[in-house]
C-alpha cells in the first residue's frame, strides 16, 4: 500500500514533467479551459443575476466542471491511449508498479492540474469579478478529489474503446457534448428546460458543479436557488451530491475494469 502511494506520487511527478514538455497538451489542458471560462463569463448580459448572484459569478463558479471535462478527461483519454499504443502501460503493468499505482498516479497529476486551475479561478473571481474567496475550502477540495477520481476512471474506460490516440478526439466527443449540455453551467438545474433536467441529474459533472458552486459561494446551489447557508448547512446540502459522486465512482471503476486494456496487442 505504501509502495503504491509512493509509486503514484512518482508517476504523477513524471506526468507533470511530461505535460510541461508537451506544448499541445499544455494548451489543451491549461490554456483552453481558462479561455473558455473567460468567454463564457463575457457572454452573460451585464448586470444580470442567476440564482441570486451576478451571472458571471454563477458561470465562473461552475467552470471547474467544464475544466474537469475538457482538461482532465480529454487529456487522460489521450494519455492512456497513447501510452497503451507506445507500450508504456505494458511496461508499467509488467514492472514494479501496481495497477492501483498507475491509476493513482494519473488521477493525482490530473487533480493537481485541476486544483491549480481552480486556484487561478478563485484568484480571478476575487480580483476581477469582485467576488469573495471560496467559503468552504474543505468541501471544495473533497468535490475536486472525488470529481478527479471519477473522471480518471471514466477516462481509463474510454481509452479502452479508443484504438489509437488520433481516434481519441472522436470517442470523447459524445461524452463532452452530454456533459456540456447536461451540466448546470449557466442556470441551476431547476431552471433548465424540462427535457434536459433528467440528463443533468445523471451526468457526473452536475454534482461537481453544484458542490463547487456551493462551496465557492456559501449558498445552496445544490438543487437550490442560492439560499445562503451556514458551513454545516453547506455540507448538509452537498450530501446528496456527494452520494451521487460516490455512486459514479463505483460505476466508473466497474467500467474501467471492464473496458481498460494494458496491452495494444490482441486482447
Amino acid at each position: 500500500m505504501r509502495a503504491d502511494v509512493r509509486h503514484a506520487v512518482r508517476l504523477a511527478r513524471l506526468d507533470l514533467k511530461l505535460l510541461g514538455r508537451n506544448q499541445t497538451a499544455l494548451v489543451n489542458v491549461v490554456l483552453l479551459p481558462l479561455l473558455m471560462a473567460w468567454m463564457f463569463s463575457r457572454i452573460m448580459p451585464e448586470g444580470a443575476t442567476t440564482a441570486g448572484v451576478p451571472a458571471e459569478l454563477f458561470v465562473l463558479t461552475g467552470v471547474p466542471g467544464l475544466m474537469l471535462c475538457f482538461a482532465v478527461f480529454v487529456n487522460l483519454v489521450n494519455n492512456f491511449t497513447a501510452r497503451r499504443e507506445e507500450l508504456v502501460l505494458k511496461r508499467l503493468y509488467g514492472g514494479l508498479t501496481s495497477p492501483a499505482a498507475v491509476f493513482g498516479g494519473a488521477a493525482l497529476s490530473a487533480l493537481l492540474v485541476y486544483l491549480g486551475q481552480v486556484a487561478l479561478l478563485a484568484i480571478w473571481i476575487v480580483r476581477v469579478e469582485g467576488g469573495s474567496a471560496p467559503a468552504n475550502i474543505p468541501l471544495l477540495l473533497l468535490a475536486s478529489v472525488l470529481g478527479a477520481a471519477v473522471i480518471t476512471l471514466l477516462a481509463a474506460a474510454f481509452s479502452g474503446i479508443t484504438r489509437t490516440a488520433e481516434l481519441a478526439q472522436v470517442t470523447v466527443l459524445p461524452v463532452l457534448l452530454v456533459m456540456l449540455v447536461g451540466a448546470p453551467l449557466f442556470v441551476p438545474v431547476a431552471q433548465l428546460p424540462e427535457p434536459l433536467r433528467v440528463p443533468a441529474e445523471v451526468v457526473p459533472i452536475t454534482p461537481v458543479v453544484e458542490i463547487t458552486r456551493t462551496a465557492f459561494l456559501g449558498a445552496d446551489h445544490v438543487g437550490g436557488l442560492g439560499e445562503p447557508l451556514s458551513v454545516a448547512g453547506q455540507w448538509a446540502a452537498a450530501l446528496p451530491s456527494l452520494v451521487i459522486l460516490l455512486g459514479w465512482l463505483v460505476v466508473a471503476a466497474l467500467l474501467a475494469r471492464w473496458l481498460f486494456r494494458w496491452d495494444a496487442r490482441r486482447g
Partner: protein
Amino acid sequence: MRTHQETPAIEVSGLRQRYGDFEAVRGVSFSVATGELFALLGTNGAGKTTTIEVLEGYRPATEGRVRVLGLDPHRDRRALRPRMGIMLQHGGFLEDLTVAETAAAWAGFAADVNRPAIGDVLELVGLAHKAGTRVRQLSGGQKRRLDLALAVVARPDVLFLDEPTTGMDPEARRDTWEVIGRLRAEGTTVLLTTHYLEEAERLADHLAIMHEGRIHVRGTVDEVVAEAGDRITFRLPGDAPDDPPALAGVPPTVTRAGGRREVSYTLTGGPAAARAHAALRPLLDWAAARGLTLERLEVRRGTLEDVFLRVVGAAPPEATARRPAGVAR
C-alpha cells in the same frame, strides 16, 4: 528462493495458449533451475513471445500449469512483481523523458519497494554518455540498451529477455551478453528468447527449439548439437569404380557434379564422442584398397543450425550448413 536449489525458478507444464480459434502455444513443458539461463529458440511466430508473456503474468494460461519462483505469475502478480525483470521486445518508453530521468524513475520504483537499485545502471549498459538525451532521439540499439537497464535496475531474481539483441550492432550485442553474464554471476535466473543461434549457443545452459507452438528439441547445448550428428564429406573423381560403403549403417549421399562425385554422410548413431573416428577407419581402408584419394576430406560436428533447420523444416543446403565466417564458437 535462492536457497531452495531443488525448486526450479520457472516451471511450465502442458501450457496451451489460444487466441480465439488460433492456438499460438500447443502444449509446451520445460523448467529452468535457479541461476540458470534458458534460451527459447524459434522462428518468428513460433510462440516464444506468447510463452514468455504468460510467464511474465500478462495473461493467464489457457491451459496447463505455469510457476515462477513457485508462484502463479498471473494470480500472484503482487508478490512476484518486485522479483521479476522484464525486457519487452520493443518500445514502452516515455519518449519525452531523458535517458537519465527514465533510469532514475525506474530506480525510484525499485527503491519504493525496498529493492536496492543498481546505482550506475546506465554505465552498466553503456548508455552513460547519453544520459541527457531524450529517449525519442535514441537509436534502435540504444533503446534496447535502455530497455535492458530498466529490466535489471531492481536486481530481479528472474529476468525475462524477449529477443534482447535484435536490432543491435555486434558491439552492443557483445556488451549485452556481458551484462547478462554479470547478472548470472550474481545468481539471477534468465529466460531469453532469440532467433540468433550463436546467442543461444554462447549463453544458454539449456535451450529449447520451438516451432509452430511446440518444443521440438530440448537439452543442453551439447545434447542438442549431438542430435545433429557428425558430417563427413569428400570428393571422388568421376572414374572411381563404385560408390563408397555405408558407414555405421549410414549409406552415403552421392551427388554428381562436373565429372566428380560429392559424397556426404550424416552420422547420428553411437556415442557422440567416438562415432566420427570409428566411421573414418573403414572409409580410409576402402579408399586405400582402391588406391583412391578422398579429396577435400572434411569431418565436422553437427551444429545448432543443422538441428534448427531440421526442426523448422528446411533441409540444410550445403552452403548454409557451414557456419558463416565470423560467427562465434
